[in-house]
Structure formats: C-alpha cells, structure tokens
Subunit: 131 residues, 6 copies
C-alpha cells in the first residue's frame, strides 16, 4: 500500500479553520472525487491553504481573495477554482464591483478572453446567489 491516508494534523485543522472563514463547511465536500484517489493531495491543499490564508497580519482576507481572483483569471483554465474564490471573496466582504473590476483589469495583462471567461464565471456565480 503506497498511498498514505489523509492525516488530520494540527496544520490541517488550521487549514480547516481558514477555509471556514472564507467558505463555511467546505472542507467536508471539497475535492470529494479526488480525495478517494489522492488523500495526500487533499491534505496538502488544505494545509497549504491554511499556511497562506491564516497570515491575515500580512494581507487581509479581502486583499488575498482579490489577488487569487486576479491569478485564477489570468490562468484561464481554472474556472472551477475561480468560481469558488468569487464566492469566497463575497463571503469575506469584497463587493461585486471589486471582483468584476479585478477580473476586467486582467484583460490588459492576460488578454480579453481570460477576462471575459472570468467575468462569465462571475456572472454565473452572482446569478446562482440570487436564485
């Protein structure tokens, strides 16, 4: 047996706390299909998320979420993650205008398609909240 199980270390619990601040309860359902085949990877993601997002003295949760949205929009191939972080940004108090403005600005640096596809994900996320 080569694949170690997900171990809920102290860092993991700190990661869950940080996740709950941006998306309450997410840890239980996140990466379900992946957790089965790569438990170590879920552990790594939760722990690393906690490492960064608990550093609120360096960057507020709002600031960090906007930076993440800029990064994910730039990538272009990360729509599921972008959707998660648009919702998270709203949860921690970013305004819709801040979110759409950050994604729009990406057009200058990574091109119109990256920004446009990011804005479509934002529009879907905003709409799903209203319904």
């Amino acid at each position: 047996m080569t694949q170690s199980k997900l171990v809920k270390t102290q860092r993991y619990e700190a990661g869950v706390l940080a996740l709950n601040k941006v998306s309450p309860g997410i840890e239980e359902t996140m990466m379900n299909s992946v957790e089965h085949i790569a438990p170590f990877f879920k552990q790594y993601v939760v722990e690393s998320f906690g490492d960064f997002f608990s550093r609120e003295q360096a960057l507020s949760l709002q600031q960090r979420e906007l930076a993440v949205i800029a990064s994910l929009s730039t990538l272009g191939h990360a729509q599921p993650q972008l959707q998660f972080h648009i919702q998270a940004a709203l949860n921690v108090g970013c305004s819709r205008t801040e979110i759409t403005e950050v994604i729009s600005t990406v057009a200058l640096y990574a091109g119109v398609p990256a920004a446009l596809n990011g804005l479509r994900t934002a529009a879907d996320t905003f709409k799903s909240i209203e319904e």
Copy 2:
C-alpha cells in the same frame, strides 16, 4: 454607485462598425451575461476591437483574423472566442483550408493538444454552418 454605464462613444460606434464587418449584428448579443455586471468592460472590448480592426491599411481583415486564430489556438483556454473568430474569418473571406492550416501550424509552436482542440472547434463551427 461605482459601476459606470456603457457609454456609446464615437470610438464605440467605430467598434460596432468594425464588428459588423466581421459578424453583422453581433454587438447586440455579445457578452450579454457580462454586460449586466461589467458594462465598462463591454465598452472597452468593443472600442478596442474597433481600434485594431479598423486599421485595414496595415493588415487586411483576412490577415488579422488568421493572426487572431493563431493566437487563440495557442492560448488553449479560449474556445468560445476561437469559435467566434473562425466564423468571422469565414465571413471576411478566409477559406476553410487557410483556417485549418493556421490552426494545424500551431501544433509546432504550442503543441498538438492546442492545435487539436482548436481544430475540433473548427470542425464544430463548419458543421453548424452546413446544418
């Protein structure tokens, strides 16, 4: 209120003219879901499109559409925009062979998957025209 409305400037009208040359009537329906949340961004895209595509003395519409198709195929994550520009290229008189040959060539510079996924988008676009 922080989000300015879409303003139909002189540049915007020039953008609509340029858009109509490659895809008649597109401005009314393009980016509908996005226009609602980011009207400034639609304005920026239409105006910028006009800035470039009205420069026909520097590059013909056929030449520019083929360059755009090469760029979008290379990105890999911009299939909706690629579909639009494959249709636009046909509208301004590029041949199917020119289009598939440009996308195929991208395999050498950006890899087989980028070219292959681009050609699948081309096949879908060609098929939707025939139906």
Copy 3:
C-alpha cells in the same frame, strides 16, 4: 484542391504500431471530427507519435507516459488528451499511484488548480474503468 489526403506512409504505419502498444485500435477512431477537415494533421500526429514513442531504448513506455501526464497536467487546457494518456499509462503498466503522484507533484510547479483538475480527470478515468 489544396488539402492533401492522409497518406499512410511507412512512418504512419510505425505510428499506428506505437499507438496500438498504448491504446489498441485507437487509430481508427482518433480525431474523427478533425480528420475530415484536416487529414494532413492526423497524419502528422500519428507519424510524430510514432517518432517519439518507438524510441523505447531511450525511455520506456511507462516513463514516457508519466512525462506526458506531467506535461499535459501542467498545460491545464488539455483534459481530453490527459484522459487519453492516463488510460494509456494504465495500459502500459503504470500504477494508479504513479499517475496520481505525478499529477499531484505538478501542484508545486504549475499550481494547485492544474493538479486538481488533472486529478479530477484521473478520478473520472479510473471510475469509467470500474463501471
């Protein structure tokens, strides 16, 4: 008539042999929608695949498939090709752990979203085998 037909050269037949080692019978169905509009491109892909994958003295099929999985996961926009090569890797004897571990490692170098989306493709592929 500008588009040459697919010509089954000696290199093409070597490509089919190489393809059959990683995915028996694939050449008949691969790139069907694309073959119609760009027969040269299918020829190029099969021939090039053979050029690389027949070099088993330099890299075993297992080693090459794992390298390809690392490359495709890194790209992020090549899920159909990644799915093919995850199946191919299993066919030539790579273990599920080797595959998920290679994709997980990509998180360090190309980011968590690239690895996560790659692992989702792996989970889907593994599941479709079990059904």
Copy 4:
C-alpha cells in the same frame, strides 16, 4: 504609408495623467524602442491604461496595482512589466509586505517557479531603491 503616428487624443492625455499617478514622468521614456516601430501600439497602451486606472471609484490604485502584480506573476514571462508595477505599487502606497505576500500567494495557484521568479524581481526592485 500604413503606420499612423501616435496621436495625443484626450484619452491619451487622461492616460498620461493616470500613468503619472503611479510613475511620474514615465510616458516620455516608456516603450521607446517600440514607439519607433509601432506608434499606434504605444497610443493604445497609454489610452487603455488610462481607461482602467482612472476608475478609482471602482478600485483604489493600491488595490489595482496588487491585482496587476498577481496577474503578472502568474504569467511568468512578464518580468519587465512586473518590475514596473512593483515600483508603481510602492509609489501609490502599497507596503513591501503586501507586495511580497501577493506574489507568494501566486505559488498556490500558478506554481512555485512563477512566485519565486516574481519575488526575485521584487528583491531586485527593492534593492535598486536602497542603492
């Protein structure tokens, strides 16, 4: 004569104003080697910069510079532009910690090399200020 000259439109002057807020005097020297061969492109960049960076009611200059730094770090191939915007971020009042924290966070989403190379550019920029 196909290449139009750089025209200092009203939008261009607004772009210069916006540029001067983040990097006083930059317009005169920016893109010198490029202005000669593509005057239209310099005009487009200055005008577009103004379009986005004058929207301070939607996003403060500090917020926008941090978003741009996240986007440029993610790209990986835009070190000259990243250097400019790290300096600009400092000019508009972002702290060094905010800048390094945004770039570090990119490691999670675009990989360690993108963040590491971005941080090296930040280290160079900070050092050149001290000298």
Copy 5:
C-alpha cells in the same frame, strides 16, 4: 548507446529545402548546442518544419510566417524563436508593418506584456538589420 544519430532522411532534405526558403543556410548552425545532446530532436524539428512549410498550396510562406509570429508572441516565453521568425518573415517578403501589426493585435488576446515583449524583439531584429 541509446541516442540515435541525426539521420538525413528524404524528409530531412525536404526540411532543409523549406528552411532555406525562409532563412538560407540556417540548418548548418541551428540548434548547435542542442544537436550534440539530442540529435534526434534536431532531426524531428527539421523534418516537421518541412512537413508544414512545404504546404505552400494551403498557405503561402508569408501567411504561415505571420501565423507563427502570432503564436510565438502569444506564448511569451519564446523570444529566440520569435526573433528567428521575424527575420524569416522579412526574408519571404512580409512588410515590417504586417509584422508589428500582427504582434500588436496579440495584445487584445494574450495581453499587453506578450505583445510588448514581442515588439521589443521586433525592434531589436529590425535594428540589427540596419547596422
């Protein structure tokens, strides 16, 4: 001994002919540092170049070079190859305006930094010709 030598097949000679059309004599010096450690790779590149660039009935050399320039500018990390193809485009009769206009257009689809760095490479190439 696992590394096969570069074999000058019929396809290789066709590749040299195609290369000579865009850059006379290039095959002797191209990829010198790489040829020593990966002779097969040089063979693959020359042969593949010939496969594509000899298809002049499908796309003229000028059209293909402009498509390649759009693709390489989009990538952002391929300045040595972009420099080669800007020179090649001039050699086969593309105008400087066509080249700078194609690279400028990439700003809309892949962002300003990709276009700007591409234009800097063009400025360097044009300047080295004048000297």
Copy 6:
C-alpha cells in the same frame, strides 16, 4: 512587524533532508535574495518540497525528477528551476538520455520552443559539469 521569520519546523528539517538527497547543501544558498524579503516563502517551499519528495514509496526520486522536468519544460518561463532539477535528476541517477528524451517529448505537447529552450538549459548544465 508583519513578516514572520523563517521557522525551522520539523517539516522544514524533513524538507532539508529531502533537498539534500537531490542536491546536497542546497538549502543554505537557495533563494538567498528572496529569503531576505519573504522568509515565510522559503519556509513554505522547503516544507512543501519535503512533503512531496519524501514520498519515495509512491514515486522514486528518479521518477519524480523526470516528472518535474517535464512540467518545468512545459511552462517555458522557469529556466532557473529547470536547471536546478536537471542537475538534481543527474544527482539521483537519471541518465542524460532520460533527461533529454523527456524534454524532447514535451515538443509534442507544449510545442517545439518549450522543448528547445529546455534542451538548451540541459546543454548548458551538462557543459558546466564537464568544465
């Protein structure tokens, strides 16, 4: 004071052990310019490296280094990291042929420039060893 110091946790020491297996003594000099401005980031990189590279039951060091080389070559913008991992791959027993073959294969999936620039880095690394 917002920037925490680098803390040599148990995970950090495990990371140093893992690093020493692929490149003895590297931890002392790695990321020197960056450690000064972002000590947390060096800690994160060393710890994360250890998380992955200590999982030798899942993937041997040779296998993991070849996967990393495939990923870094694909990115195109990560030559310093690629150079490090080519040296590391040699250190853990990969052959030069395995390394050049993995990078060459990337040409099919991420394009010739990515592979070619990667092979140039390999040629430089091999040469620096011989001197």
